[in-house]
Amino acid sequence: MELATIITFIIYLVGMLAIGIAAYRLTSNLSDYVLGGRRLGGSVAALSAGASDMSSWLLLGLPGAMYIGGMGEIWIAVGLAIGAYLNWQFVAARLRKYTKVANDSITLPDFFENRFHDKSKILRIISALVILVFFAFYTSSGLVGGALLFEASFGMTYTQALWIGAIVIISYTFLGGFLAVSWTDFFQGILMFLALIIVPLVAVSEMGGWSETVNAVGAIDPAYLDAFQGATFIGVVSLLAWGLGYFGQPHIVTRFMAVKSVNEIPKARAVGMTWMVLALFGAIFTGFVGIAYFSANGPGGQALPDGSHETLFIMFTQVLFNPWVAGFLLAAILSAIMSTIDSQLLVSSSALAEDVYKGFIRKEASQKELVWVGRIGVVVIALVAIALAYNPESTVLDLVGYAWAGFGAAFGPVLILALFWKRMTRNGALAGMIVGGLTVIIWAELESWFGLSPEQFPILGLYEIIPGFILAWIAAMAFSYVGEEPSSEMIEEFEQSKTSIL
């Protein structure tokens, strides 16, 4: 590792910690800590939502998948972009307004409880549990990404790399909470964007241009050039269905709640979608040019070893750039990882502080006490994620896929119906969450628990979010119809959320 690369990298890390310390001074209560006191501008909210969303998956997972499967993998990017757009278009403003109307809710479990006037706290417990379980997997996927980065770039062992990455991330989330996370996400979002534009452009130019790249890829296997080659209905639907996950991701929808005004949302949507689509193109083309570059006849001289396809972006930074730029690009990868993990740790810690500690253990806890419980929660949850990430066989894409489906199915249908369906009740929400979460867990284990394999029954090859989402939707509607109708106060708040301007 060149000294220049290390210096650039350290400058980046010190800058992130400085933001954490500055935000620490502006954080005085739990609302500040988990939601930044609802004062995010449109651009910060947009890049923050994008950077929290697009984790190491964007810089490591997607280019790696493209490297293995060629253009057949672009369906997932299309599905995600459509899902993100629909989320901004339909959920963002309504959620911002409704969380304010529903007793100024600051977390998703808080919103569900206030939306359905649930005095039993059962909605809060179940949703906090869903958050804690699936974020443990999600956060560990980021830690695996961090470990891959430090291992491949700095020659550390996997375990050393895991701990160093975790310590850096925890320290600034611990200090600054939401403001630190959103501000750093903003800078990290810009850094990721630049890296995803620069790397494929330089790599294509090293190959001699676009036509030469396409020819080289086609000479390896023409199937890489066709998004439809070998595509099956179940495969394509499964990849597109990733977009459904957006409606239930707590770390993303939290950004909608934190926007300072609904008037900021159209700007945030335009900035966010531009960022996302261009970043996805960057990741797609990085993977695509990688097929030609890292092949027996390409400038890389040989293909990447089996199982290390997710290090493609890291390998490009090492072979294509001078050490100063390489340091900056490695910082961008760490940005992608950090900006997602920090948001997830924060949502998990708010589930512990607001939903479990204040809800059950000490109802009269002071704001200062809650902020500290949240901070300790960050450390505890990070330790659980580190334990899960200890298995170096885990791939970023698999871990993300599982957690993404869990949230999408458990929270997605419930959140959409809660925002747009007046007749929705607490029992419906509860049924939707439980059915969605359990379907994802069981569907993923059908083969190991029941011996049912996709080879025998092709339909079982569907991504688990699809059955989870559909069954949760049906359960939420059925259980809402079966029980009592919503109270007049609930209906009144529902109507208010449609008309209020905040």
């Binding site: 299309v78 278009q89 066709d226 998004a227 159209p266 335009a270 797609i284």
Partner: protein, 34 residues
């Protein structure tokens, strides 16, 4: 032999995703003009 991306692949790459950017800006400008 010359290779190229198939037409369907080009369409899938350059229609749905850029269209989302356009729609976002259209709704932004419509909101501003209101």
């Amino acid at each position: 032999m010359e290779y190229g991306l198939t037409t369907a692949t080009w369409l899938l790459l350059f229609i749905p995703m850029p269209l989302l950017i356009i729609l976002s800006f259209v709704s932004l400008f419509m909101r501003r003009s209101e």
